[in-house]
Amino acid sequence: MPILEVQDLSVSFVQYTKGLRQKKVQAITSLDITMHEGEILAVVGSSGSGKSLLAHAILGILPSNARVSGTINYSGDELTPVRQASLRGREIALVPQSVNYLDPLMSVGAQVRTSVHNDNPVEVQKKIFERYHLDPDLDKKYPFQLSGGMARRTLVSMAMVSGAKLIIADEPTPGLDSIVIKEALSNFRELADHGCAVMMITHDLGSALQIADKIAIFYAGTTVEVAPVKDFFGRGEKLRHPYTKALWRALPQNEFVPIPGSQPLPNTLPSGCLFEPRCETATRECSLKQPKIQEIRGGMVRCIHAT
């Protein structure tokens, strides 16, 4: 049984433009994702593709002007707002992007202790600091005194001590040097090996491939493909969606060729396939309606031409 199942999720925002006229901005369109225990799923997409919103939607911490449709199931049962409120921080934990997500006026140790729910917070915090090679002095320090690496380890340790089974890491790697990135990635692998499901949200396909089991490719607020890591090799012949192929070929270690054009903005989405305007293999049919997601060769793809 999958621990997390997101089906046909859409998130839009109601904004007021001139006076009382409302405008709907579609941020996530019919998104599907499935996660199992012990598995790392990397959600890869460029900025503005709706990755962080997916995390916030799962946790139920979207701003109040967000409208959500579709279903999210956790451990087989629907994740209603009430259930979200009782599970967040206990069963589902977030590892945020940066040190800005720590309270600037609360000591680091105290913040780690607030994440502990069913044990002695002081002891758990001491142990986790030891495990992550965090100086015991850090307990009394404030977030502004942390280095990038220390902040990263602190944020991961907060998810660790919560005892959550599903961990969502939002952009855990940018701005860090390669040693710290490697360390962070191995922390996530370790968590998954202990039975957690880890969703790693990133724009960095390269580091995602190093540790993930499956890669979900996001484009303009939807999943265009979910592929096992082993499919990423050579010129990407095994990949299913033209965007994934293009992304793979754009990596510096591969052909380093960029894709022309840019991702459509949430309020100017095309009516058909969202990638159609930039797709080399697009046909007239592609512009008619958005393709449904389908299973092909052990992966999922949202393209009518996929084989």
């Binding site: 409120a85 009782s86 967040r88 977030l94 309270d103 600037p104 006026l105 994440s115 404030y142 005194q145």
Partner: protein, 336 residues
């Protein structure tokens, strides 16, 4: 750790020295500007001193007084003459009260202090609480009500609010005395604390009601900003909500700006007190300022200007000091 403490107290010392220099230069500038203003105002110090008996003073006598006071000397010499006396602690003698200015300020300050500190504490507590409730219940009817109340009060002149309270509670209902600081016709020794408190309530209430609006609106906005921050989002993701969320992250992060605002509001407090005291004929610093201004009591006016500058400066200094002591980022700024 000792090294850290050492560096902290060293940086505190530099801070205090800098503040001291700033205060001296501020006072000098204020002395200069107010002296120039008074010199170029149409007030004739001799006429203000002599008052209604002016008709009986001959031009020779006038010149004698002018010479005695040094009014025949150049303005710059007069300024340094007055300035050195002020520096030595002698603020001169008030013309309308015929008492040393320092004594008047001393006496008036304590009756104003009771008024201002009551208003300060009340508006601080109620304003903060209202701002917090409005922000936590943002966009609900509670928030709408508090906002409406604050906008209305923020645009209400102090004297008008004073008159309103005076009409309702003193004239119609007769619960409180109409004005003054003590009952009329009672010997000073017989005035009880209860009498003084009874006279204090209406002016203090006026100042508090007006002061609440400013504090509440500032607190509300600051807490809304804090609640929209990344760290509050993360706290929500960890399952915190409601009162726990406010207590752990909201209060902590709005306390500092609230304290700063509270001490920085000394100037508004003083300005408000002038109007409220005038409406209630309450014998405080504010009333003395109005008297001194209207009747051309130059020594008293200059003394009050200097004193109020010091008062406001002290408020800001306390705010800065508290910031340095409480905020861990300021404390550690030099040592990491």
């Amino acid at each position: 750790m000792n090294r850290l403490k050492g560096e902290f107290s060293k940086s505190l010392l530099t801070f205090l020295v800098m503040k001291g220099i700033r205060m001296v230069s501020l006072l000098f500038a204020i002395c200069l500007v107010s002296f120039i203003l008074v010199k170029s105002s149409p007030i004739d110090p001799i006429q203000a001193y002599v008052g209604a008996d002016m008709m009986r003073v001959s031009p020779e006598q006038r010149e004698n007084i002018a010479e005695y006071w040094g009014l025949d000397k150049p303005a710059i010499e007069q300024f340094f003459h007055w300035g050195s006396a002020v520096a030595g602690g002698d603020l001169g003698t008030s013309m309308i009260f015929r008492q040393p200015v320092a004594d008047i300020i001393h006496e008036r300050f304590f009756s104003s202090l009771a008024l201002m500190s009551t208003a300060w504490v009340l508006s601080g507590i109620f304003g903060f609480a209202m701002g917090v409730v409005a922000a936590m219940k943002k966009d609900t009817w509670v928030d709408q009500f508090i906002k409406w109340y604050c906008y209305t009060l923020a645009s209400t002149p102090t004297f008008w609010m004073g008159l309103l309270l005076l009409m309702i509670f003193a004239v119609w209902l007769g619960w409180f005395p109409v004005g003054m600081g003590v009952p009329v016709g009672v010997i000073a020794e017989d005035v009880t604390i209860g009498d003084r408190v009874l006279h204090l309530i209406l002016p203090a209430l006026t100042l508090s009601i007006i002061g609440v609006a400013n504090i509440a609106l500032h607190t509300r906005q600051k807490l809304i900003d804090v609640l929209a921050s990344d760290y509050v989002l993360f706290a929500k993701a960890r399952g915190e909500r409601g009162f726990i969320l406010f207590w752990r992250h909201g209060l902590r992060n709005i306390a500092l700006p609230a304290v700063t605002l509270q001490f920085a509001s000394f100037s508004e407090l003083f300005g408000g007190a002038i109007l409220a005291e005038q409406v209630f004929s309450y014998p405080g610093l504010g009333e003395a300022t109005v008297e001194a201004g209207l009747r051309g009591d130059v020594p008293l006016l200059l003394g009050l200007v200097l004193f109020s500058a010091l008062f406001v400066f002290a408020g800001n200094l306390i705010a800065d000091l508290i910031y340095r002591v409480i905020d861990p980022r300021m404390k550690g700024a030099k040592s990491v």
